[in-house]
């Protein structure tokens, strides 16, 4: 149990560093920026305590904000996402699934892809609207949301496919 937490903390820190030091400097065609750090929230066990999910989501966004100098924006979007994680999981996964199950592309591809698409789209929509905070340049905002979402989703799915390791017990 403690090793699981340790691993999560490591993933947390790694994702933040990756996002801040590398991904946020990428700006494809001047519009699309990959957002990877929410991968942490996707990969938490399904039955995880909601308080834990929400607080970790908030901290995740807040730390990203501190690094990117955008106080509150990522925190708000990530907290909203974390709060709605459980209902969204219930939407895409069977109810009978056990609490310790970690969503992943290798164990159940279709639900995870849908889950990822939904979450990333929601998150980036929130993020870009909080950032622009106006409906003035709506088309531009929508293009940025969609292009960033596509890149982020591809990146997350690729990362998930690559980092999968069968646990010792499963073999």
């Amino acid at each position: 149990m403690k090793i699981v937490y340790l691993k999560e903390v490591l993933v947390f820190i790694l994702l933040i560093l990756l996002q801040v030091l590398l991904l946020n400097r990428i700006n494809v065609f001047g519009i699309a920026t990959p957002v990877l750090y929410i991968y942490f929230l996707l990969k938490l066990p399904i039955g995880r305590n909601q308080f834990f999910v929400i607080i970790s989501g908030f901290l995740l966004g807040l730390i990203i904000d501190i690094f990117l100098n955008t106080p509150g924006m990522n925190a708000a979007a990530t907290t909203i996402m974390a709060a709605f994680r459980k209902p969204v999981i219930n939407l895409f996964y069977d109810r009978e699934i056990y609490d310790e199950y970690v969503p992943g592309i290798n164990t159940a591809a279709a639900p995870f892809v849908r889950f990822t698409i939904f979450m990333v789209l929601t998150h980036l929509t929130l993020l870009f609207f909080i950032e622009s905070f106006t409906l003035f340049n709506l088309l531009n905002t929508v293009i940025r949301i969609i292009s960033s979402s596509i890149i982020s989703i591809l990146l997350i799915l690729a990362l998930d496919g690559l980092t999968y390791r069968k646990k010792a017990g499963e073999q």
């Binding site: 607080i55 955008t70 509150g72 924006m73 905070f133 106006t134």
Partner: protein
């Protein structure tokens, strides 16, 4: 009650989420100038009315202070104006008399100076009207000093205590003041018949006096007021008891209902003039 507690406990993570989201948005608005500016401009549409109202109220409160400032400035300017006028008169005299050696004494006093003061009580209860102002003997006020407002003549100081003075205004039956029309040299007398706070009567003017509504009524020879101080404007022909004289109704320049700030005229030569004139009578 128990159900309520259960409900709260079951949904407490939502409360936490809402709390954190609110906090995040607080951060967004508090620390991002762009979002704050958008928020403020859009909020302006909603709260614009409140802002307008509050600014109305605050500007009204500040009006008093501003008025006081303007009044003090006005007093300074009037002092300057009078000293410059007397200087010009002296220059004219010296020029015509061709005495180059004559040098004016630069320390010479000006005749009138002005003491700004504030009205603390208006008693317009009927006939025996008076005004109380917040300057007294401490500030150099004496009975028989003239009192003017920004617009025109107010009245004459009657009683003085240390910190307060009572002014008898034009709209008191006891008040008499020598006055004339602007474009004429005949003078009459201003008095008040007790009918309207805004109107006084200019009587004892010769019958041949021509007038037009709106003619300016000014002080003429007076121990109290500088010459040509505005009193009011002719509004109509009034009733008269004597066929040899005309009486005009005069719309007073000073609005007594909204009177707040006044200037008390300090005539430096008043005592001297009075002494001289009294010495003849003796």
């Amino acid at each position: 009650m128990r159900n309520l507690f259960n409900f709260i406990i079951r949904n407490s993570h939502w409360l936490l989420a809402i709390l954190l989201i609110v906090f995040s948005f607080y951060l967004v608005f508090a620390h991002n100038p762009y979002q704050r500016s958008v928020y403020l401009t859009s909020a302006n549409n909603v709260t614009g009315w409140f802002y307008t109202m509050s600014s109305n109220v605050t500007s009204f409160i500040h009006l008093r202070k501003n008025n006081q400032m303007l009044l003090e400035q006005n007093a300074v300017l009037e002092n300057e104006l009078f000293s410059l006028r007397s200087y010009i008169n002296n220059l004219a005299v010296t020029a015509s008399s061709d005495v180059d050696a004559f040098v004016r004494d630069s320390t010479e006093q000006t005749q009138f100076s002005f003491i700004p003061s504030e009205v603390v009580n208006l008693s317009f209860s009927g006939v025996n009207n008076f005004i109380t102002i917040n300057k007294g003997s401490k500030d150099g006020l004496k009975p028989d000093m003239g009192v003017i407002s920004q617009r025109g003549v107010v009245g004459v100081v009657a009683n003085v205590s240390t910190n307060f003075s009572v002014v008898i205004p034009i709209i008191n039956p006891m008040f008499r003041l020598s006055a004339k029309l602007k474009n004429s040299d005949n003078y009459g007398s201003i008095s008040w018949n007790g009918e309207s706070v805004n109107t006084a009567q200019l009587g004892e003017l010769p019958k041949h006096e021509i007038y037009q509504a709106g003619d300016t009524v000014m002080t003429s020879f007076s121990r109290i007021f500088p010459k040509n101080t505005v009193i009011g404007y002719v509004s109509s022909m009034g009733k008269t008891s004597d066929d040899n004289f005309n009486t005009f109704n005069v719309k007073l320049a000073t609005d007594f209902n909204s009177l707040q700030d006044v200037l008390v005229i300090n005539d430096q030569f008043y005592e001297e003039q009075k002494l001289l004139e009294n010495s003849l009578e003796r």
